[in-house]
Symmetry: C2
Subunit: 181 residues, 2 copies
DNA sequence: TATCGCGTATGATATATGTCATGTCGGACT
DNA sequence: AGTCCGACATGACATATATCATACGCGATA
């Protein structure tokens, strides 16, 4: 029962689109926050450089995702944004974004809804990932999502942070042993 | 640089407080969504009953936390809410909550900010938890948070989903071997 | 001063899981 | 029909980690 809930993405109408080649950098950590971004196509990764030179990927935003939402209230970006594929993004200065959000309560509400859902599902994912055994993680995942469709087990393995062989072994175990799964 | 950003919690002013005894149930899964809750004191757990009768804890909300924010746009609750300790909560019907949020753009913005920060930190946590080795998780955690204060290592272990002995062993290893940490 | 709780620390042992390898099956495309 | 690719599946093996146990130092408290 979702009432009149306009999509917050309409805030980005009228904004110019920017094309990014794969590997292009949108912003770097510690850059002053100027823009809010909406990914239109392709994918953009948020990553953090680590001491050993490697990068920790924090998120890969794809079409329809906002980028670094938390920067709305920060002075500087907290990580790097790099295009993983050729991509298009829309952008809006932070001030414009805030203004429009205030003028469009329904859009703000829709953004709140989007965030709330994310927070909820991420919390669940975290709890699953904190479980030690593959068996427990699978139980939890199934309790939350139900049985996946054919061809999706591989995605489940990724979701619960387990190697594919480990997952299939667990599935085999369940097929043999009791009656579950 | 956070501008005039009133706290979204002011939305709950004027609302009556409800006392909960430890173990009390605020709502159950599939109950129709009536109220939005703000935890004032104590802690309230969100959990999901699993097939084997045990409960998967999805979140433990404490003072200042909203409860089940995603229910704002849902017909029914998706999990059970049970007081983990004696607790006090404020509540507001969903309709009232929505109305007030629309009337107070600054509060809505503040809620968006709160959510955005949560989404961001949860994403980071998820990526850390997906790493296989304790060593990698620790590296990532340290890159994001810096060295913890004394007495906090035990919390780090919990954060990165690793047993305390495993963490201390890794720390010992680093003390011995190269020059890190 | 004694006791308690908590964070820190380390050892021994079992085992669950990752990694590497190999193979089957089915669908899509040529 | 043949080829390719991705999901499904399983074996062998090494090892990283959990678990259980024990112990130390320190601050709080009685």
């Amino acid at each position: 029962m979702i009432y009149v809930m306009s999509d917050w993405r309409i805030i980005f109408t009228d904004t110019r689109e920017h094309a990014l080649a794969r590997g292009a950098v949108l912003f770097r950590r510690d850059d002053p926050v100027r823009f809010m971004y909406l990914v239109q196509s392709g994918s953009v990764a948020l990553e953090r450089a680590m001491a050993d030179g490697t990068a920790l990927t924090l998120h890969v935003a794809t079409a329809g995702d906002a980028l670094a939402e938390a920067s709305l209230f920060a002075d500087t970006y907290h990580c790097d944004a790099v295009a993983r594929t050729d991509a298009r993004v829309a952008r809006l200065t932070r001030a414009d974004f805030l203004t429009r959000l205030k003028r469009m309560p329904d859009a703000a509400l829709s953004l709140i809804g989007t965030h709330a859902k994310q927070v909820q599902s991420q919390r669940a994912r975290i709890e699953i990932l904190r479980l030690r055994r593959v068996s427990d993680r699978l139980d939890a995942w199934l309790a939350l999502h139900g049985a996946p469709e054919k061809g999706q087990w591989v995605r489940v393995a990724d979701d619960i942070g387990v190697s594919q062989p480990a997952l299939y072994r667990e599935l085999a175990r369940r097929r043999r042993k009791p009656g579950a799964c």
